[in-house]
Amino acid sequence: MARPGLATRLYQGEANLNIVGRRKLWFTIAAALIAVSIGSFIIRGFELGIEFAGGTSFTVPVATAEGDLTQEEAEQAVERAVTSVDPEAEVHAAQQVGTGDSASYKVRASALTAAEAEEAKAALVQDLGVSADDVSDNQVSSAWGDAVTEKAILGLVIFLVLVVAYLIVRFEWRMAVAALASLMFDLLMTAGVYSLVGFEVTPSTVIGFLTILGYSLYDVVVVFDKVQENTRGITAGSTRTYAEATNLAVNQTLMRSLNTGLVALLPVGGLLFIGAGFLGAGTLKDLGLVLFVGMGFGVISSIVFAAPVLSALKDQEPKIKAHNARVLARRAQRSGDVAPRAERTRPANATESDEVGVLAGSSTPRPGARPTAKRNTSNRGGGAGNRPSGKRR
């Protein structure tokens, strides 16, 4: 029977990509990326926004000699003044304070030294043609209090503890560890991207970062759910090693993972597009960015990181170890009396390395391949086969 194209097989959960089998490769890549991230934290640090680092706030009157300023004009004027003394400085949106004659605009800018602030103020006075008494500058503290950060971190820690407990109850401790490792990986990567590229960290970024938490675990849980189903009672049979069963689960949920990633990233993409494309800056861009990066990593890591970590952990379990050895021994024995398979024609879009079990002479079943036994022993969950399928209500 001719094999359908990769896309179709992907669609049917039979792409047979050997993901778990290449554990070492993924771990090496992950370790390298983590090292780069941590290195970047140490060397480059983070670009903290005004809300975290504090800054300088300028007040300019609405009414000037040449008529009333608009919010935008005030903003631009302060920006000109501030960047003239410090080209790196950033300016926030202006805010009108009060109404009527006493109305003024308040514009927050990055932190400046007292001398720089004085200089910027002078430039501002000249630029707008107002009296120096009407313009004031003030150092402002961070608007995002330390208490908020502390409590958020506390919440994070409590959440992680609870989530591990939940996953241990729902799955098992190895899965909990693997899920947590994958989550940590996502957070490290996202933070690493921020640190490397020098994106500004604002309250929106922090909030987006916390959103990734739930999302990244969510993805992993879906994959592990399938893994659990596929490996239930695995030691009873001797057709598959644990890693192969995990790989099969990953392949079966691959389409779902990709779909999910796509469906979740579409709105975020829209957010980023609108935020960055139309407005140039601000909350939407900040949020869109951190979510896009974080969710992207979330999708990738649930496929190529969480499951390999899980299988690596499981392979250490004595019961599974013994089982794996038994499977391999049986295979070795069988391959002795099985004729090597003929070369198969393979679609052009699948490369040699995409596939497992194509080594001539090995009779390893391809993950996702139907066992050659009768139909109802199919391992694709839920067959009324001889595999104990657990209690389900």
Binding site: A143, A147, V148, K151, A152, V221, V268, L271
Partner: protein, 630 residues
């Protein structure tokens, strides 16, 4: 398995929610006004208040300013889930901005936070909820009759330090369940504290003219009969013997914080229908008067506190320390010389109390073992209530279940109590939105684009099933919107741009539960099942995955909401809300719709349902173009 019934339930949820939106929670104005969610500071602007801080007449230290900022922040956060901004400007000014017209709320933020040490003389459970709605008199097995004086179970204090032993004030807001009722009820005869006998009609702080008038109004509101009954109470009403005992006082549960504040302390304490929530809503400074008995809340129970024998001004210093012998974190407390003698006196009274003293009974109810406890009150909050373990004439230590952070937190607060920062309220002004309507429109546009993209993709991939996704997302959006409007009015939940973005993101997560389900469905059909039998099977499987995965998100939201403050809390609330509503739609809408779908002819046709492609045929059209999009 009654699709019709589930849809009916959903319809009911809808109707109730929108009735609430239009007619409940103080809805007013035209129909369009009633459909306005409360928008945040960044979108519509708000009110900004400036407070000039001073400390002993001079400029406060940096540290004091930071603590002051935190205190003001916690006061603002107590107003609800509104994302206020609190900034220190210059070296002595604190600027607070709140969304919308918030002048009333900003008015009493500037109260100085004072610290008081008060002997704990009574504890009674916060039973307002059951007092207002007593359980049915049938002896049901649920045992809902609360014991009137069961405080929340407090973890028993650890550490046998030679000093005050404290359970740290529950910073996590954890409230234990009701402990078994302690046997020793304070006998009414001993209702006066042992020392400093305040006569039964405890001299409350002299009321200002405004408050006198308010008190008269409250009396009218309550009604003469209930008022007289409340005045006659000498001890908290015991609901454990008569579950209906709280009913005569029902009116008290409708009082606002300011109204509760003018009642005599004894009445606040004794009337079972006055809840902790009401007590916490009293104006700032409500319990500052050191010469009056006051009522406060401590770990979910109402506590009666004696006059303040020692005040924050008496403290010289407080530091967190790691006790070398026990390896535990403690807070050490030093008093000024004048304060030291007062403190020694207070601890003597607490330490030597016998079981006949009301403070002894009270202390046992919060987990103390043999001595009275002294409550440390900052602002309106009991931050700690250590049991006094000796007559403390030198440096004192508060031990308890501290870690480095909580010990530091308590020490900071004690230190702050030592040098209170006073605020002078500066001008209050309206501020414009920082982002404004343009950003709001952009956010909504982004939401529309996101929804459109998800819809297009799901139509492309799942064909007719895409309609189910689309309809569900629309439903979720309507439910979310209704909830936002209603919660904005009742809880002060403000929608910021970040919140809008959060809801956009939840679109994707909501759509994902469909992906899980439909992929399952494909698998089932792949197995060779008919669509009709595949739907319920796939649903059962997918349900488990969806619940597990969403549990994580809900857990995340709940923890962050409970623990966090400020913007993070608002975000957690939005996230939790959208997930819960999403689950509601999944269970009450999608499932019944799919069940109905499965019985139609169209569903059987692969062309329409988008599931047919999994039925492997030889004439499978190559779909390699798909992979580029994916």
């Amino acid at each position: 398995m009654h699709p019709g019934r589930q849809l009916a339930v959903l319809g009911l949820v809808f109707v109730v929610l929108y009735l609430a939106v239009f007619f409940a929670g103080g809805a007013k104005g035209s129909f369009t006004d009633r459909l306005e969610p409360k928008l945040g500071l960044d979108l519509v602007g708000g009110t900004q208040a400036t407070y000039i801080a001073s400390q002993q007449g001079g400029v406060p230290t940096q540290e004091a300013m930071k603590t002051a900022q935190e205190i003001i922040e916690s006061r603002v956060n107590a107003l609800g889930v509104s994302e206020a901004e609190v900034v220190i400007q210059g070296n002595n000014t604190i600027v607070v901005s709140l969304a919308g017209e918030a002048e009333d709320q900003l008015k009493d933020l500037s109260q100085a936070a004072n610290m008081r040490f008060r002997l704990l003389t009574g504890v009674t459970g916060d039973v307002a909820a059951t007092a207002v709605n007593p359980p049915a008199p049938t002896p049901s097995a649920s045992g809902a009759a609360p014991s009137a004086s069961a405080p929340a179970a407090a973890p028993s204090a650890s550490g046998a330090a030679p000093a005050a032993t404290a359970k740290p004030s529950a910073s996590t807001g954890g409230q234990g369940g009701g402990a078994p009722a302690p046997s020793g009820e304070p006998s009414p005869a001993a209702s006066a504290p042992a020392a400093a006998p305040s006569e039964p009609a405890a001299a409350p702080a002299p009321l200002s003219a405004d408050n006198k008038k308010l008190l008269a109004d409250v009396e009218k509101k309550i009604g003469a009969k209930a008022w007289t009954a409340a005045e006659k109470l000498t001890a908290p009403v015991d609901l454990s013997t008569d579950t209906k005992a709280g009913l005569p006082f029902k009116e008290f549960s409708t009082l606002s914080g300011a109204e509760v504040n003018v009642l005599p302390a004894k009445m606040q304490y004794n009337v079972p229908t006055i809840s902790c929530d009401q007590l916490n809503q009293r104006p700032n400074g409500a319990i500052d008067d050191p010469n009056a008995e006051v009522v406060a809340c401590y770990s979910g129970a109402k506590v009666l506190l004696d006059k303040a024998e020692v005040i924050g001004d008496d403290i010289a210093d407080a530091t967190p320390q790691l006790d070398q012998t026990t390896g535990q974190w403690v807070v050490s407390l030093d008093f000024k010389s004048a304060g030291q003698s007062k403190w020694t006196e207070l601890t003597r009274k607490a330490f030597n109390a016998t079981s006949a003293d009301p403070c002894y009974t009270a202390a046992t109810q919060i987990g103390a073992s043999q001595h009275c406890a002294v409550a440390v009150v900052l602002d309106k909050e009991v931050i700690s209530a250590p049991e006094i373990q000796g007559v403390l004439s030198g440096q004192s230590q508060i031990t308890g279940d501290f870690n480095a952070a909580t010990a530091k937190e308590l020490a900071d607060k004690l230190k702050f109590g030592a040098i209170p920062v006073n605020f002078e309220a500066g001008p209050m002004e309206t501020v414009s939105a920082t982002l404004g309507i343009q950003q709001l429109e952009a956010g909504l546009l982004a939401a529309a684009i996101g929804l459109a993209l998800v819809a297009i993709y799901s139509f492309f991939y799942y064909r007719l099933l895409g309609t189910v996704i689309f309809l569900s997302l629309g439903l979720s959006a309507l439910l979310t919107f209704g909830a936002l409007v209603f919660l904005g009015r009742t809880m002060g939940f403000t929608l910021t741009l970040a919140g809008i973005a959060g809801f956009i993101v939840s679109l994707g997560v909501a759509a994902d539960s469909f992906v899980i389900y439909f992929e399952r469905l494909k698998d089932e059909i792949h197995e060779g099942r008919t669509p009709r039998s595949a739907v319920p099977r796939a649903w059962q499987r997918a349900r488990r995955t969806i619940i597990s995965a969403n549990m994580i998100t809900i857990l995340c939201a709940v923890v962050l909401y409970v623990v966090s403050i400020g913007a993070v809390q608002g975000f957690a609330f939005a996230m939790g809300l959208s997930v819960v509503l999403d689950l509601l739609v999944v269970f009450l809408f999608r499932h019944p719709i799919m069940t109905m779908f499965a019985n139609t002819k169209a569903f059987m046709s692969p062309r329409v349902s988008g599931l047919g492609r999994v039925l492997r045929t030889q004439s499978e059209e190559p779909t390699s173009s798909r992979v580029k999009e994916a």
